[in-house]
């Protein structure tokens, strides 16, 4: 790649980051006004939260089951199967729960946010709102942003709960680990504030980032079917990268 082309790509990337930053400030400025449309926010929480429950619960259950199965055989080598509940819970609460839920959330809710807003742009619905003196930032974008922040921690809690249930099913019901040992070691080791809530804070941040990326991509997409398709893809790819990078940064600070 030659230098001018590289410089242009770098400038484009920086411009994109700047545009997302400005968009975030626009959302934050629109949040107070969007509280007037609280019903829209509730509707969005239902749409991105409740409607994502099936995929979150199913994946949570299977992630817990496979984690339990893998760890059981690893821990057997060290005679440490009694720690299975603790290790599964810490893995789920601190990392897997928030990160996997965020990736699923980006695929399920983020893409629908992008596609919906993109189609609203393509069919002039956003312009119609502007012409009716209704700010789309406060009526369309901010409620979805708030919904992302509110729904993600709830989804992570459900994901974690189903993950533990899956781990219990495999570890206790199938592989024969003692039920009291499984729960007892877990409850005596796992801290609510440092372990469980760390994951909840993370998930709220992931929800904000995914909603920001999804609404930005939808709001700025070219008003064509191809534009909406590309924007939807970009939402998933960008969200996955940013979530994993942010996870590292937040883990480093929250440890």
């Amino acid at each position: 790649m030659n230098a001018p082309r590289r410089n242009m790509m770098l400038a484009d990337a920086l411009a994109q980051v700047g545009a997302v930053g400005l968009f975030m400030f626009s959302i934050l400025a629109a949040v107070p006004k969007s509280l007037r449309h609280y019903r829209e926010t509730v509707r969005q929480v239902w749409f991105v939260g409740a409607m994502s429950l099936v995929i979150i619960m199913t994946c949570g259950l299977f992630v817990g089951m496979v984690l339990s199965l893998q760890l059981y055989y690893v821990l057997t080598n060290f005679g440490g199967t009694a720690a299975l509940g603790t290790v599964v819970a810490l893995s789920m609460f601190r990392e897997l729960g928030p990160v996997v839920t965020a990736l699923l959330f980006a695929g399920r809710a983020g893409t629908s946010m992008t596609a919906e807003i993109g189609l609203m742009r393509a069919t002039d619905q956003l312009s119609a709102m502007e012409m009716m003196a209704v700010d789309p930032m406060s009526y369309v974008v901010a409620p979805r942003f708030l919904a992302g922040i509110l729904a993600m921690p709830l989804l992570v809690c459900i994901f974690n709960a189903l993950g533990l249930l899956g781990a219990h099913l495999v570890g206790v019901s199938w592989l024969g680990l003692d039920n009291g040992t499984f729960w007892g070691n877990m409850t005596s080791t796992v801290e609510v504030w440092s372990d469980l809530l760390n994951g909840v804070w993370k998930s709220a941040a992931f929800g904000a980032v995914i909603a920001l990326i999804a609404t930005f991509q939808g709001y700025t997409t070219p008003p064509t079917s191809e534009g909406v398709a590309y924007a939807t893809t970009r939402t998933v790819v960008s969200s996955a990268i940013v979530v994993l990078a942010l996870d590292f940064v937040m883990t480093a600070f929250l440890m």
């Binding site: 312009s127 709102m129 012409m131 209704v134």
Partner: protein
């Protein structure tokens, strides 16, 4: 068959040239270049208050762009646009929204909110800006839907409407707050003759009874002729003719003769600029 809604002999209809001192919209030195193409080249225009002004012209000449300039959706490269005494370019977002609260805008593609029913679409501006009891909102909405002949369709979703019905719902939504300035972008597309007649009467009635200033972009000259007080013809980045529709229909200039006569040859090219036809097909000498 169709009653002539607009009678040029009526005293309030003879504004063949808008009174400059009573202009609702005043445009001076407008210049717009989009994607390297000059859309407007230093043009002036006055839209008379309380009159129906039709903007006509070949496709792609900037009629919708002009409407977007007037409503502040698109900034001009140069020039000044004044709406009701306010310079659009100098308005901040709040002031622009204040101005738009007094403007009704009918979009070319209706732009109905697809998550809402017909009733909720029409009620949307009322719910967003006015704290009215539900019963009053209901009555206003049903009145507007009745005027466009769709009261019975209030429960339908936009996806269940035909193009013409969607346009009529959009019109009901645009007029629901009794705006001072109504802007219609292609309001007659997809309307059957009965609906067209009713919509023409509605537009004229709004103008006559409420004194609404109307700007109309349309291609159907027969419909425009029935209601418009003034027609402006755009071509080649300029306003090439203007006047009462009956006067323009006489085709006294080559622009109006070609446009209203539907002729391919004239100052407005039918063909989009392209290289030589024969050469492109490979028939030119030496091309093979």
């Amino acid at each position: 068959m169709n009653p002539r809604v607009n009678d040029p002999t009526r005293s309030n209809q003879d504004a063949r040239t808008p009174a400059a001192g009573n202009a609702c919209v005043r445009i001076r030195g407008l210049r717009t270049v989009l994607n390297g193409k000059t859309i407007f080249d230093d043009v002036d225009l006055d839209i008379a208050r309380g009159k129906i002004t039709a903007i006509m012209g070949p496709s792609g000449t900037g009629k919708t762009t002009l409407l977007r300039h007037i409503t502040g959706q698109l900034a001009a490269d140069c020039g000044d646009i004044e709406v009701d005494g306010r310079h659009v370019a100098g308005l901040n977002r709040t002031q622009l929204f204040d101005l738009r609260e007094r403007i009704g805008y009918l979009f070319q593609n209706s732009a109905l909110l697809t998550d809402f029913s017909v009733f909720e679409n029409v009620a949307f501006p009322l719910r967003q800006h006015l704290r009215l009891p539900e019963e009053i909102i209901r009555n206003i909405v049903l009145t507007r839907l009745q005027s466009v002949g769709l009261r019975g369709a209030a429960h339908l979703m936009p996806s269940e409407l035909s193009g013409g019905m969607a346009r009529r719902v959009a019109l009901a939504r645009a007029i629901v707050r009794d705006p001072d300035l109504m802007i219609y972008d292609e309001p007659f597309v997809g309307l059957d003759p009965i609906a067209l007649n009713q919509i023409l009467t509605l537009i004229r009635t709004l103008n006559d009874t409420l004194g609404v200033t109307s700007i109309l972009v349309a291609h159907e000259f027969s419909a425009v002729r029935r209601i418009a007080d003034h027609v402006v013809l755009i071509a080649g980045g300029k306003f090439v003719a203007s006047g009462h529709p009956d006067v323009l229909a006489r085709g006294e200039s080559e622009w109006t003769r070609q446009f209203f006569g539907g002729e391919a040859d004239g100052p407005v090219p039918f063909q989009y600029p392209a290289r030589d036809y024969a050469a492109e097909l490979g028939f030119a000498a030496g091309a093979r």
